[in-house]
């Protein structure tokens, strides 16, 4: 098709022209899966972007595209950003993994950073946070707070990241309260407030009085607030507007230091492919304020666990732990290796139901 070729050439020329113009400025692009106003996951990534702008001022220009669906359209969005002359592109959702790699192959001079994935390339790094450390703290508080012994969990997609969170929360809830039971709903979305609210409602009707979420909006918090006696935790962002109750604590992602460091590496020309996976210790994962709705002794235990993880003395996945089918996963004192954790596709013993795949 001549017309298509004409457009492609024009687009390429435009891209080259803008690259040439932007040479004195480093252009950093961000691809978001939800809107920046989701109050959760994407909101925190955008805070990181703003921190990059504040740090470098006029030396850096940032661009972003929000609500990019995971799938074929993501490749178009990333390509467009590369054509616009971005030097560094952060793609901030698991489902952008293959599109990121595909685009990276076409633009060897552009650096790519993919969040929460596990595939790298000469110009593609991965980065993620050890959210499961935060989930351990959450699980402990949840186990202590529940009166019905039923904890609801709104999961998004069955990927290792989400399964790790469920396992970590369950292990620590079970330690705190041996009678605890998890009810899990797979929402198959990262962001759909109405569906998240419905899922929370369904869990509450099934007797859950603690709701954990791995979706991005604050809708489950609103549903819990409406129900009145249900405990929730902020996900990805502090969600402090629902404190002190129902939101009693939160897991906060702090991407700003990482984004600043990687942008500086591109400016200095020292950027290399890396696989970063930081937790509470380096500050990529923070625990939001534990409110007074939590009894003081539970709060103290939770904070002690957080500190032990920050110092590297405690690992949330420490044996003895069995898989769901009863087979031994970790023996007494054994600690899970990162490889297993990154590819986690099984529940630990005690969880019911099956992981969809």
């Amino acid at each position: 098709m001549t017309l298509t070729r004409l457009f492609t050439t024009a687009a390429l020329a435009l891209g080259l022209a803008s690259t040439a113009m932007a040479q004195d400025k480093t252009k950093v692009g961000f691809i978001y899966v939800g809107p920046i106003g989701d109050g959760g996951w994407t909101y925190e990534h955008d805070k990181g972007r703003l921190a990059v702008e504040a740090e470098f001022g006029d030396a850096v220009e940032t661009v972003y595209q929000e609500s990019v669906p995971e799938g074929a359209d993501a490749e178009r969005a990333i390509t467009q950003m590369a054509l616009q002359g971005a030097d560094l592109i952060f793609t901030t959702s698991f489902g952008f993994m293959e599109p990121t790699l595909a685009v990276a192959e076409k633009f060897p001079n552009v650096k790519f950073e993919h969040a929460t994935g596990y595939k790298t390339a000469p110009n593609v790094s991965t980065y993620s946070a050890r959210f499961y450390e935060g989930r351990a703290v959450q699980g402990h508080i949840a186990g202590k707070m529940t009166k019905s012994n039923i904890i609801g969990y709104i999961a998004s997609y069955p990927i290792p990241e989400v399964i790790r969170g469920i396992n970590s929360a369950y292990i620590h809830a079970k330690k705190a309260n041996p009678d605890v039971e998890f009810k899990i709903i797979w929402a198959y979305t990262w962001f759909d407030p109405a569906k998240e609210a419905d899922a929370a409602q369904a869990l509450i009707e099934q007797g859950a009085d603690v709701i954990l979420q791995h979706t991005d909006s604050t809708a489950p918090q609103a549903a819990a607030e409406k129900a009145g006696n249900v405990v929730t935790f902020g996900q990805a962002s502090d969600m402090a507007e629902y404190a002190p109750f129902p939101r009693v604590s939160s897991i906060i992602d702090d991407w700003a230091p990482y984004y600043i460091a990687r942008t500086r590496a591109v400016i200095d020309g020292t950027w290399e492919t890396t696989e970063t996976w930081d937790g509470i210790g380096p500050g990529m994962v923070a625990i939001g304020e534990i409110t007074d709705a939590v009894p003081a002794d539970v709060k103290a235990e939770a904070l002690a666990m957080k500190d032990a993880m920050a110092r590297g003395e405690y690992h949330p996945f420490t044996g003895p732990l069995n898989k769901q089918d009863g087979s031994v996963w970790l023996t007494e004192g054994e600690v899970a290796d990162d490889g297993t954790l990154l590819g986690m596709d099984f529940y630990v013993e005690g969880l019911t139901g099956q992981i969809p795949n």
Binding site: D38, G39, P158, A194, D198, A202, E205, Q206, A222
Partner: protein, 304 residues
């Protein structure tokens, strides 16, 4: 496996179906007048934020819903101007309206995140609400649920029995003939478009004021497109739109409940079931000879 309480489930279905029901009903009238407005999603989200902002500032959910209808209608007026006066392409204008509505709503919504809207009280139906089972399922909802149901009946009766409905359908079936008979095609269509916008706005506000109660950017996340599809699968009939909305809302809520109850059906099947079942049922029902309005999507100019 925990048991699902059918009373609570049916009550939840009534609520889950309302936003798409309102939006689809509005679009049904628009399409019966021969106009294809793909901007439902944009009008819904605009209604969601207009309603939310006014309800928060005035403290009155009723004013909020009025503002939502006005906001949705105002946005649809833009579409009416483009397609009925400037004779722009309806598909392109509708898509543009959705994009514009999404952008406009996140602009208007600055500063409204994390705020609680005033609660919408349940309609007090006295002793009716105390009837076991039926009381909880049918007679203990907010007024909007009943308004939506009333609108279904009103639209159905209007289209079927009244002169106004006949004119509207005539305009939609063959605008040249309607024009030759002396009916004001453009005026009828503009009014239909405004009605559609107001309904979509109400549907959006139902999500932001009652179903989720909060404002989040992009919170309708595709409900407008579902409503659009529903109109087609419902063969442009009000009763079937209601059925479709209940089916879709119902199966969506049911599958979440089944998951929570730990039923051993693979989650993938549960997740796709709302779409599959709704389409299947409505397609089977439309096996009769119902078809799209004859002038659907075509521009009209009196000189032609």
């Amino acid at each position: 496996m925990g048991a699902i309480d059918p009373t609570l489930l049916l009550a939840a279905i009534m609520v889950a179906a309302t936003p798409i029901l309102l939006a689809a009903l509005g679009e049904l009238v628009v399409e019966r007048a021969g106009v294809l407005n793909l901007g439902v999603e944009g009008m819904m989200i605009t209604g969601a934020i207009c309603g939310f902002a006014v309800a928060v500032n005035s403290g009155s959910p009723v004013l909020g819903f009025v503002a939502a209808a006005a906001g949705g209608a105002a946005l649809s007026l833009l579409f009416a101007l483009l397609t009925q006066l400037a004779l722009a392409n309806q598909v392109a204008s509708g898509l543009a309206l959705t994009l514009f509505g999404l952008g406009l709503s996140s602009l208007l919504g600055q500063g409204y995140q994390g705020i609680k809207p005033p609660p919408t009280p349940r309609l007090d139906l006295g002793p009716l609400s105390d009837i076991p089972f039926l009381g909880r399922v049918l007679f203990s909802h907010d007024p909007m649920v009943y308004l939506a149901l009333g609108l279904v009946a009103a639209v159905w009766a209007l289209l079927k029995f009244t002169r106004a409905g006949l004119i509207l359908r005539a305009v939609g079936e063959n605008h040249d003939a309607a024009h030759a008979l002396g009916y004001r095609v453009v005026r009828v269509r503009v009014m239909a478009i405004l009605f559609g916008g107001a309904c979509a706005g109400l549907g959006g506000a139902y999500i932001s004021l009652i179903r989720v109660p909060q404002w989040t950017e992009g919170m309708t996340s595709g409900a407008g497109w579902i409503a659009l599809a529903l109109v087609v699968f419902a063969s442009w009939k009000a009763g079937r739109v209601l059925l479709g909305a209940w089916l879709f809302g119902g199966v969506s809520v049911l599958q979440l409940n089944l998951q929570a109850a730990g039923l051993a059906i693979p989650v993938e099947y549960l997740s796709m079931s709302p779409y599959l079942i709704t389409i299947l049922v409505l397609v089977i029902m439309s096996a009769d000879r119902s078809r799209a309005p004859g002038s659907l999507g075509r521009s009209f100019h009196a000189s032609q």
